[in-house]
């Protein structure tokens, strides 16, 4: 066991939990109406609590149990066999379990952005837990647990495919199944508190250091470089998005800048262990421009109310980065270099295949899970509840009490 690596992963685990609670929760909550602020916070919080237990009970085993190329089996349910002294690589296995748990929390929490302001709370909890176990955990195994995508040579350092493509695609499917918010696209209401969104985004930025540099699972040069490219990409994404807004509307908005930053982060995630600083710069710029464009298209062309742009920012960003890693991993761009026998072309094939397989898997299973759950519980709230806001109706609370 290596104490230094352990120290850094203990820290990274705290940072990644911080990304969801309160980071992502605030990022999302600032974007909805004030009557739904608590409901968004509660979605993220309840997902964190229930998914943690599900990860402990079964999902960790599916993801990282010994198993085969498809899943890890049930041998590690309830952390069976994992004691104070168990190790995983150079760190305690309990810590590896925790670090990975924080990824399992944030991934379904990302999906929340698709269905805010109109979904029933019971559905959110049930869906998220089942989705994490059935959709997410196997993908983790395929890519990081020694499964078939790992064997194919897929490069996904910190979760472009595992986290962002799964969440983004599933979000799109759910948004289509659920239908748009009342008044979409012309009369939905503007974000009630963009400052809250900025606070959450800032926490995501900071926490992402744990996400990406922590994925080195060591306190070394790889972690240092991962942090560097992550940061540069975030900054470049923010700038790219802002420039797009300036060109189009002559104003750069705070919500736009922070969204571009998140796009930059999603884009660099799969590449953060493979590319050098120039790669980080290019990926961030590309992420900002392309996610911006897709955001407009989903809303305006396809009229899909993926309310907080999960697909456009995370799904597209994650996929884009996964593809671009095949270019910028090359030592020609100061990247870490290809695995033996790989080149840009062959790597690109693997990357694309990984994206397609995981996207289809996520889409189909999300559709099935939601279709079945709808039979047993309310999917979408009734119109009166939607109009009044979910805080009072679902949770009996109000976000802001003044008088």
């Amino acid at each position: 066991m290596n104490g230094a690596d352990t120290a850094w992963i203990l820290t990274s685990t705290a940072l990644v939990l911080f990304m969801t609670l309160p980071g992502l929760a605030l990022f999302y909550a600032g974007l909805v109406r004030s009557q739904n602020v608590l409901s968004v916070l509660m979605n993220c919080f309840a997902i964190a609590a229930t998914v943690s237990i599900a990860w402990f009970v079964i999902a960790y085993s599916i993801a990282f149990g010994d198993g085969n190329a498809w899943w890890g089996g049930l041998g590690k349910m309830f952390l069976s066999g994992v004691g104070f002294d168990s190790e995983a690589g150079t760190i305690p296995e309990s810590l590896f379990f925790m670090f990975q748990m924080t990824f399992a929390i944030i991934t379904p929490a990302l999906i929340v952005g698709a269905f805010v302001e109109r979904i029933s709370f019971a559905f959110v909890v049930a869906f998220s837990v089942i989705w994490m176990v059935i959709v997410y955990a196997p993908v983790v195994h395929w890519v990081w647990g020694g499964g078939f995508l790992a064997e194919m040579g897929l490069l996904d350092f910190a979760g472009g495919v595992v986290v962002h493509v799964t969440a983004g695609v599933s979000a799109l499917v759910l948004a289509m199944m659920l239908g748009p918010r009342r008044g979409f696209p012309n009369e939905v209401q503007p974000p009630h508190n963009p400052g809250m969104t900025m606070i959450g985004a800032s926490m995501l930025w900071v926490g992402w250091f744990g996400f990406n540099a922590g994925s080195a699972l060591a306190a070394d040069g790889a972690a240092g470089m991962a942090m560097t490219v992550t940061h540069i990409s975030a900054a470049a994404g923010a700038i790219a998005w802002s420039v797009m807004e300036l060109l189009r509307y002559r104003k750069a908005s705070l919500v736009g800048a922070v969204t571009g930053m998140v796009a930059g982060l999603a884009t660099i995630t799969p590449a953060s262990g493979s590319v050098g600083p120039i790669g980080g710069l290019v990926l961030g710029l590309a992420g900002g421009v392309i996610c911006y464009t897709v955001t407009q298209m989903v809303k305006q062309r396809f009229k899909i109310d993926d309310s907080l742009d999960v697909f456009a920012v995370h799904g597209i960003g994650g996929a884009l980065g996964t593809l671009l890693v095949a270019v910028f991993v090359s030592t020609a761009f100061n990247g870490a270099g290809f695995a033996e026998g790989m080149n840009t072309g062959s790597q690109l094939g693997v990357q694309a295949m990984g994206i397609v397989i995981v996207a289809v898997w996520s889409a189909v299973l999300t559709f099935l899970i939601a279709s079945v759950l709808k039979l047993f519980m309310t999917f979408r709230v009734d119109e009166e509840t939607e109009v009044q806001g979910l805080d009072l109706a679902m949770h009996g609370e109000r976000g802001y009490h003044n008088m």
Partner: protein, 112 residues
């Protein structure tokens, strides 16, 4: 007595308050409101979605005055609130039948 309701631009509140003091009025009640009129709201754009915000922030000032003071009060408000730009607001004059000071029970002009 008259009950005068003025809708003004928010940053004019202090000017109006001072102008009222200038004509001897030392009591008033203000509140935040949103106005719709010739001055249009702005379009706010978040992530490419355009939100038409139709109402603009205004402040409402309510002041009860003796009949004799009504005209000078209206004039004072108008002068203080005027920027000669669209959206400067309106002053409405209603008849006030009675006024009571809670603390003392005084009624009529004494209560103001």
């Amino acid at each position: 007595m008259k009950f005068i309701v003025a809708i003004i631009k928010p940053h004019k509140l202090e000017d109006v308050r001072e102008a009222l003091a200038g004509v001897g009025i030392e009591g008033m009640t203000a509140s935040e409101v949103k106005g719709y009129g010739r001055q249009k709201g702005q379009t706010e754009i978040y992530r490419g979605a355009e939100y038409q915000v139709n109402f603009v922030p205004k402040v409402k000032v309510e002041v009860a005055v003796d009949d004799g003071a009504a005209d000078s009060v209206v004039e004072a408000i108008r002068n203080a609130a005027n920027t000669e730009k669209i959206g400067d607001g309106k002053i409405f004059v209603l008849d006030l039948e009675n006024a009571v000071r809670v603390r003392t029970g005084e009624t009529g002009p004494e209560a103001l």
